[in-house]
């Protein structure tokens, strides 16, 4: 796939708390690798500094958000631990950069998603309106 995208790509870091299982030495080593990684891509103007998320929070759902529950943010391998935005123009380039993320060596996964210019809802609504217009011609 070589989808062009002007808006960049979001990397979502998904994993459990695998870092709890590392020794001090491994942690220090990985931290240095992470630092070098982010410096390399920010210097090239390809990555914007990301943020980590705390392993706690809430899930709000239902009409008027009446249900507020704790999510499993610590144990789940699918939980999102942080994010980063890449300023590159194709999905292929974003994937290639994601593949160099040092922590992948310890497991976890990186979700690579194109940022949308406008809400997909809007786009879909326009498409449907156009289809309707064509149907009435």
């Amino acid at each position: 796939m070589n989808t062009q995208n002007q808006n960049g790509y979001m990397l979502l870091y998904r994993s459990d708390e695998w870092y709890n299982r590392l020794s001090q030495e491994e942690l220090r080593d990985l931290m240095n690798q992470n630092k070098a990684w982010i410096e390399k891509w920010t210097e090239q103007g390809k990555a914007k500094p990301g943020r980590a998320l705390e392993r706690r929070g809430a899930i709000v759902s239902g009409k008027n958000g009446r249900y507020v529950t704790d999510g499993p943010f610590a144990e789940s391998k699918e939980a999102i631990g942080g994010y980063l935005v890449l300023d590159v123009e194709t999905l292929d380039k974003a994937i290639a950069i994601a593949q160099t993320i040092p922590s992948l060596a310890y497991g976890g996964s990186i979700e690579v998603r194109p940022l949308a210019e406008e809400c997909p809802l809007d786009v879909r609504a326009r498409e449907l309106a156009r289809e309707e217009e064509l149907a009435t011609v």
Partner: protein
């Protein structure tokens, strides 16, 4: 919960499957509501960033860095977009999440405190303290 947090909160909007079920008018209505909501939060200085995500992408995983497709369009769990909030408490972030126009249609909003530093760095500090004790 009243956790104070200097680094703000992230709202992750989960669920992409509900959109199909709406009529064009309903879609337009929800979109307009969503945009107005984001504009209001931005004007109030409470939202600092936000973006929808395309319903496509890839997953890179594990030691071997395998690339696979994710179910981003149909899934109830898939993330459709996010807001970054500059508010100081979990209560306030949850109250804002409860205003999400997608909630009546089945959208779920994940509310997560942004961490001051990378968890690897925090873990290293914790282990160092433990070793000193």
């Amino acid at each position: 919960m009243k956790t104070q947090n200097q680094d703000g909160y992230m709202l992750l909007f989960r669920g992409n499957d509900w959109i199909k079920a709406l009529s064009p008018e309903e879609k337009q209505k929800v979109t307009d509501q969503w945009m107005a909501w984001f504009r209001r939060l931005t004007d109030d200085g409470k939202a600092v960033a936000g973006n929808p995500l395309e319903r496509e992408g890839k997953i890179v995983s594990g030691k071997n860095r395998v690339v696979s497709d994710g179910p981003f369009a149909e899934s109830k769990e898939a993330i459709g977009g996010y807001f970054l909030l500059d508010v100081a408490s979990m209560d306030e972030a949850v109250a804002i999440a409860q205003e999400c126009p997608g909630l009546p249609y089945g959208v779920r909003v994940e509310v997560r405190p942004v961490a001051p530093e990378c968890p690897v760095a925090s873990e290293l500090k914790r282990e160092a303290e433990f070793a000193r004790a």
